[in-house]
Amino acid sequence: MAARVLVGVKRVIDYAVKIRVKPDNTGVVTDGVKHSMNPFCEIAVEEAVRLKEKKLVKEVVAVSCGPQQVQETIRTALAMGADRGIHVEVSGKDYDSLGPLQVSKILAALAKKEEASLIILGKQAIDDDCNQTGQMTAALLDWPQGTFASEVAVEGDKLKVIREVDGGLETIKINLPAVVTADLRLNTPRYATLPNIMKAKKKKITNVKPGDLGVDLTSRLEVLRVDEPPQRQAGVKVETVEDLVGKLKEAGRI
């Protein structure tokens, strides 16, 4: 079966933090703000570790792209059970403009280099909500993809994936090697136990530069402006149901 699984983990602003837009409207404030692993990436790591515990895969490799701080995110994956980590060094302007296109090129290159036969990613990141990296990676590798997975099962040399789609659940069977992206209900990620956190310190994280992988980080996108959503306007109180219906008709809503 799949010998090696690559799991992408992204360092994002913690979901509980109140986001503030920078005064110059070029982005959001990240300095001094609490960051953690993207929740969907946690689910991806959990799934990979469970596959290893079921002896369906031999090695789980956690990958993250970014500056020095992403090593914390990789350590968290290691504490959850990943075997080793790869830190793809991207910083400064390159990091600011890093998006799904570049990351998918990096992951595709790593998958080939590491001879991975399964890539598990979160379905999207909670900062940019792109929902593209998994799909692009599969396309670059010409691998099948099982996105929005709420269940993954190994059946011989194929993967059965149940996907959460608008109409309900879709079950597909895809050949390995493949890319899977994790949706919310795929699993509940474990808490890292204190012994595992200690063990994670000894696990290896190798550093790699995008250039070494032959990846061009130039972005084809330019962010023009970032604004907060408009303030919610005050509502209007009405006395009777008739008033309500009247107001709704006035506003052209019914």
């Binding site: 890292a192 136990t193 204190l194 012994p195 956190i197 200690m198």
Partner: protein
Amino acid sequence: GLQLKYAQERVAPLVSEMDENSSMADEVIKSLFELGLMGIEISTEYGGTGSSFFSSVLVIEELAKVDPSVAVLCDIQNTLINTLMSNLGTEEQKAKYLPRLATDMIGSFCLSEAGSGSDAFAMKTKAEKHKDYYIINGSKMWISSAEHAGVFLVLANADVSAGYRGITCFIVDRDTEGLEIGKKENKLGLRASSTCAVNFDNVKVHEKNILGKVGQGYKYAIGMLNGGRIGIAAQMLGLAQGCFDHAVPYTRQRMQFGKRIFDFQGLQHQIAYVATQLEAARLLTYNAARLKEAGRPFVKEACMSKYFAAEVATLTTSKCIEWMGGVGFTKDYPIEKYYRDCKIGTIYEGTSNIQLSTVAKLLDQEYNS
């Protein structure tokens, strides 16, 4: 950081209920073990986490931010029970108990009695020697975690004629005949931590269940409590910080007279003062822990940290209720619980007066040369 997430997600929702019912939820106990938090310093060879005393201090602080009762369970297990067993146990004792203590068994420490708290050596529980076993008779009081403990470290006097030099530490399994867990106290605070009387009625204990040496129990108890008080300092610190972290955001939202109550200078000065005291308590605690870990003398600093952190917890919680006004006074908000919980900090594991007396005694010695 990672522990805080567990505490916030799994423990926090149960805090109010556990307090109301004076009962620790089974799932909290189970998850503490599962996360390796009950055997922090136990060596990995016995199934423990193999981490440091400082790690224990940090874990206790993080847990206390959410629930000081859960923190004290973790504190007693790590700083008292596990420490005694690891330092004094024979290979046989360690092999038997350390793996259990790390994975599924809670330990309780039985020192105090109705007639002996600060005056611990005035204990009346006796251990009568017969050939190769002892018969223990007496009553211990105020025993934390007794409701769930699987093993008890009992201080009893094996030679009354020698006074406190007869006090011996015995390992007594819960299911030993004659050991009875008495009623649970109905307490002001730390309610989810069970506090019971433990009665010993002709409890037979083999001499191989003596921890360390006969007559050295008093020394072990004092020695271990020195480290234990840093753990309590950490608990009080976390308690104060957790309370503070709930109250300050409220002051930033609550508007009166057209501005945030935080914006009134009176409030600002009080909040800043408390924050400074908290920081001082933190540094005292971490420094005491650092000294202990480095093998340097630390008793004075440990006493100072426990005494000070308990005072700061009292100050902080009291002020937080005031800052939150009416809502601070209701059980709908978590603040009043911290206020109730903090009081024990000035009492257990050495009262504040005992801490101060110890510091004074050490200062006296320091100036001796």
